[in-house]
């Protein structure tokens, strides 16, 4: 039983960097509890000695020749930027104020 509570939804939404309204917190708490109960059934499956599958591909660490190619035109890229300063994306200070 892994019923999720309001505080957990708020905490996880914080980790996921998503602002939720009070109504969303209440609704998601109920809905996610139902979904988590459903996925909890996996606990009963015996997976001792079963390796995890992260990708079905037989390949890993795919490399290609490290040859320089032209970058995208800066004007095309910055056309989408909400805040630009010269040839840089403008951001706020990444440190939260204490």
């Amino acid at each position: 039983m892994s019923t999720i509570d309001r505080a957990t939804v708020e905490k996880v939404a914080g980790l996921a960097r998503i602002a939720l309204t009070e109504a969303e917190v209440a609704r998601f708490t109920d809905q996610l509890s139902v979904v988590l109960d459903a996925v909890d059934r996996l606990r009963a499956v015996d997976t001792s000695d079963v390796p995890p599958t992260a990708s079905i591909l037989p390949t890993f660490d795919v490399m290609r020749a490290d040859e320089p190619e032209p970058s995208l035109p800066l004007e095309d890229v910055f056309r989408n930027a909400p805040l630009r300063e010269g040839d840089l994306f403008r951001v706020q200070t990444p440190l939260e104020e204490r």
Binding site: P52, S55, L57, L83, E97
Partner: protein
Amino acid sequence: MNALPRTVSEAAAALRRRQTSAVELAEAAVAKAQGDRYNAWIHVAGDHAVAQARAADERLARGDGSPLLGIPWACKDIIGTKGIETTAGSRILDGYVPPYSATVVERLDEAGAVMIGKTNLDEFAMGSSNENSAFGPVKNPHDAARVPGGSSGGSAVAVAAGETLFALGTDTGGSIRQPAALTGVVGMKPTYGRVSRYGVVAFASSLDQVGPFATDVEGCAIVCEALFGKDPRDATMVERPTGDLRAGLRRGVRGLRLGLPREYFEVKGMEPGVERRVREAIRALERDGAELVDVSLPSTDHGLAVYYLIQPAEASANLARYDGVRYGLRVEGRDLVDTYRRTRGAGFGAEVKRRLILGTYALSAGYYDAYYAKAQKVRTLIKKEFEDVFSRVDALVTPTSSTVAFPIGAKTNDPLAMYLNDVFTLPVNIAGLPGLSLPCGVSEGLPVGLQVIANYYDEAMLFRVAAAYEPLAPKEALAA
């Protein structure tokens, strides 16, 4: 308004006989898309289409033999198109114009196909009904009060309503096959690793794959021939020759062993009309010479749980990039983290938020082993069961969905009921196999889909079985 030809190959033949031109086809398709009554399109790119069609007509005049030359198509709006707004059905990509095209778009450009516009979808492909789009729900052309399925609902409807000859979708848990079934067209998901995902908005990276919709099996095979093949810009591809995907289209099923996984016929909520149609289709294949083999995939029942852990977990990582800094919506907050929170709170819809919270939870400290790692282990079991079965059969035949198209709004407040739409399709993504849905008649006036699943990289077998059944499908009239 001129009707479009019915299939890709009929259109190609008409172009070569000079009965029509690429510009005429493009203008007809653009007019149909602009007059669409099902909210299938987010953006109709009329000028772009006519310019591409002019170039196609020049190539046709020179005798160019590309089978997609001059053929109109529709692009799910989660696939990046250079210079043409790409939304992923989300407010968070508001105004985003990609500086480059996805490889699949480049390949269709090179093949001379003519892109008519971008189709509606569930936001970030998260949904099975197309009700989760920031641009409003897509309606089913056979009954506009019902959903078309999702998430590639707009692409399915654009083909089903005769507004274009083929379309591209993406399929993470059934997002091509389920809407194909619910709208009565052919939809196909290639083997994982067959098609480049460069330039496609990422949802769940170990599951996502691009594939075609068309009115017939051959149309899907022709599109796959253009899409398949290694792309140096996508590291998650296999080095495999495409082969002749159309080689088996007229070979029939005589001598083939078709597996019927019993777990796909014992599902709660299966509509009797759907089961009847699928069983009739299987009998038709048997009469045509196929040998039917009862098989079992015992872990099928765990597919939904595995999928709803792995898929949201991967999505929570992929969608971290929407931060209001480099593109799309930005809602300014008091500091950087507050800007992230506000931007994402305002930009994502309810279903996307639910899945990102679920995925973040499944990956968080203390829960990772119980949820995400456990799901990856059960994934191994599901994959192994398919591998064992494919040592004994050439293909599997199942229902695509347990129901016909359901009314808009019927499941929007019950996420789990909505997720159950995909129980027959998502195991195919978990295992990474190729799958296809094609129409197998009608129940309650609405289309029913037959799913064919083949072994890894055996798309030619998928097309062979589907093409053998295609002429045997009942021809009753649909509601519309």
